[in-house]
């Protein structure tokens, strides 16, 4: 299979180019995505290569999402961008009350195979209206699929899968990852099925479930802990709906300790769902499960404040030490 050295952002771009080529029914649109190529450059070249099938829109999220629902009903596969997940809140109706209902209410005679690409999370200096992690909102909505890639390969693969899927899918990217290091990405491979977890690090002392950009901080923490003799298993769940509950249960049964780490604030976050599934399955644990996330607060712009809130590798490591009953090294 061909491999290319790509950043996360470039991998998204490569996937979009592939999809536009192999699926003539795709359309790519949103604010500034076509002629300018996207505010992060992620949709670059699509307009040039595919003309009118990539186009810029007014600042009208209801029109963007609603028209995607309508076009999808009629056989297109729109891939629309909501520039920041925070902005989806001006038009959530079209996702929840419209897209998610099409197939069910029509008894399967109509469908809405649209893909919504967005990105979320805190970045240095970002304000409270440009920092939220909103996956838990979408994960409470039956009828949607949701994924959150953290690597160039997943950025490529998950998007390909999403667009080939026949239901509305949210692909939630992260702008702090777009310009990261280049990695070898297999491009042009077969469309993978939706779902599945990734064991990013095998371990035996504790199962750490995580997703999105937080995966990198968890891996960093796990490396530090490894040096202290704590062997953490890092299980990334890039697909959150469908969610691979089985993989989580299997790992937690083995390590008998569970932590869930996400950037979203803790109360009502999807970490609660993961813990509830493990508790509901009666997995015996050596210690109470731990949820690590942003405290329940708005997001301040100042870095000194934001850093005190968004979990970093240090805090993850500390909490895992406490969970495994070890002291921090002096």
């Amino acid at each position: 299979m061909p491999e290319r050295d790509l950043t996360y952002g470039e991998a998204v771009n490569a996937a979009l180019h592939r999809l536009m080529e192999e699926l003539p029914e795709t359309l790519v649109y949103g604010e500034d995505v076509a002629v300018p190529g996207g505010v992060f450059g992620v949709t670059r070249g699509l307009r040039k290569q595919h003309g009118d099938r990539a186009f810029d829109t007014p600042i009208s999220e209801s029109a963007i999402l609603g028209s995607a629902v309508g076009a999808a009903m009629m056989g297109r596969r729109p891939i629309v961008e909501i520039m920041w997940a925070d902005f989806s809140l001006v038009a959530l109706d079209q996702i929840v009350n419209q897209a998610a209902n099409v197939r069910y209410v029509s008894g399967g005679r109509l469908s809405a195979p649209l893909t919504i690409r967005t990105q979320q999370g805190n970045a240095p200096g970002a304000c409270a209206q440009h920092s939220q992690c909103l996956e838990a909102l979408f994960l409470h909505v039956p009828g949607l699929r949701v994924c959150m890639p953290s690597t160039p390969q997943d950025a490529y693969d998950l998007l390909v899968t999403a667009v080939h899927g026949d239901d509305p899918v949210l692909v939630i990217e992260n702008r702090t990852l777009y310009f990261g290091a280049k990695e070898q990405v297999q491009v042009g491979g077969p469309v993978r099925p939706m779902g599945g977890a990734r064991t990013r690090r095998a371990g035996s002392d504790v199962t750490v479930v995580t997703w999105g950009a937080m995966t990198h901080r968890v891996l960093e923490a796990a490396e530090v802990l490894a040096g202290e003799g704590i062997d953490a298993e890092v299980l990334e769940t890039p697909w959150l709906n469908p969610f691979d509950t089985g993989a989580v249960l299997e790992s937690a049964r083995r390590t008998r300790r569970l932590a869930v780490v996400h950037e979203a604030n803790v109360t009502g976050g999807f970490g609660a769902e993961v813990v509830a599934r493990v508790a509901g399955a009666g997995v015996p644990l050596l210690a109470p499960p731990v949820r690590i996330g942003t405290p329940d607060v708005r997001m301040p712009a100042a870095q000194t404040l934001a850093q005190a809130l968004v979990p970093g590798a240090d805090r993850v490591a500390d909490e895992l030490r406490a969970l495994t009953g070890r002291e921090a090294p002096r």
């Binding site: 029914e25 359309l27 009118d52 099938r53 186009f55 829109t57 007014p58 009208s60 999220e61 209801s62 029109a63 963007i64 999402l65 609603g66 028209s67 995607a68 629902v69 309508g70 076009a71 999808a72 009903m73 009629m74 056989g75 297109r76 729109p78 038009a91 109706d93 079209q94 009350n97 419209q98 209902n101 197939r103 069910y104 209410v105 029509s106 008894g107 399967g108 005679r109 109509l110 469908s111 039956p142 009828g143 699929r145 899927g165 026949d166 239901d167």
Partner: protein, 315 residues
């Protein structure tokens, strides 16, 4: 000429007879929950759908029974849907406010005010790429004109010259509140200018006028001229929903609007033109008979099967 008008009369009577039967079934028990009738507004779907083609896509609201019928959805599965039967047009999943029958170019009711307008834009957009020449029709009420999604849709359609006809059924009320109190400039058709598209206020109680303007708007749309807004002036003869006490009506209002309601008006016109009363009345009888038997058949159908309640959430 009188043939077309008799056809209009039939189209309208089918809707009215359907709605009156629904009202009865709601009172008697087989239909439960919130139901919004379009009694008095029949000329709009009758006139508009007459010039729509199978390839076109229509997006209505919760007050959409008439649109479904005019688009050619048979009455029986609609009755069945209202009564939660397995044979319902949505197998019981939609209910009164959420009919869909894409196979008839009826892309559905919608019970979120204004939400159908952007969706219609998408259907029109799809037509740009699939070679169908499809036009899309978005139907909503006067009150919906104040909803953000409708504004965004009109601008989107105009900016991209999408083949959309926006049909605003101005029945002068948004639920229980007069639209006149909720806008400063009462001619809603004039809002079209804001988007650079044509807007016409037309007689929505005259199927012929609706047909004329609809045909024209469709022609513009299919030629790449972009969207049109048609503000169809009408009145509902009934409450916003079944059970509405209609306390907001002015004294004499119902009598006044009954005088200009589309069916009575067309009937008088036909009689004045010399069409025999028997021919005119036969239309009503035919429509009522159709609806009686459709309702009866629907009543005989089995309820939606609870074992299927979780099916079709995902592909």
């Amino acid at each position: 000429m009188s043939e077309r008008r008799l056809a209009d009369l039939l189209a309208m009577w089918r809707i009215r007879a359907f709605e009156e039967k629904v009202r009865d079934l709601r009172a008697e028990g087989p239909i439960v929950g919130s139901v919004h009738l379009c009694v008095g507004q029949e000329a709009i779907p009758a006139g508009a759908c007459d010039v729509l083609e199978p390839r076109d896509a229509l997006f209505a609201t919760y007050r959409g029974h008439g649109w479904a019928l005019a688009r050619g959805v048979p009455a029986e599965p609609l009755f069945a849907e209202l009564m939660g039967r397995a044979t319902g047009v949505n197998g019981g999943r939609g209910g009164s406010a959420y009919f869909t029958a894409a196979e008839h170019g009826f892309h559905g009711e919608n019970s979120i005010v204004g939400a159908g307008a952007p969706i219609a834009c998408g259907a029109a957009l799809a037509g740009r790429f699939d070679g169908s020449g499809r036009a899309a029709v978005s139907v909503f009420g006067d009150g919906a004109m104040n909803q953000g999604a409708v504004h965004e849709a009109m601008n989107f359609a105009a900016a991209f010259s999408l083949p959309v006809v926006f049909v605003c059924e101005n029945n002068r009320y948004s639920e229980l509140t007069p639209i006149a109190d909720m806008v400063r400039a009462p001619r809603l058709a004039d809002r079209a200018a804001a988007y650079g598209m044509p807007g016409h206020r037309i007689d929505g109680n005259d199927a012929e006028a609706v047909r004329f303007h609809m045909r024209d708007a469709l022609e513009v749309a299919r030629e790449g001229g972009g969207p049109t807004l048609l503000e169809c002036m009408t009145e509902r003869l009934v409450g916003h929903y079944i059970g509405d006490a209609e306390a907001y009506r002015q004294p004499g209002e119902l009598e006044r609007i009954r005088r200009r309601e589309p069916i009575a008006r067309l009937r008088e016109g036909l009689l004045a033109d010399g069409v025999p009363a028997a021919d005119v009345d036969a239309v009503e009888h035919r429509a009522r008979a159709e609806m009686e038997s459709a309702a009866a058949a629907a009543l005989d159908a089995p309820f939606a099967d609870p074992a299927t309640a979780r099916e079709h959430l995902y592909a």
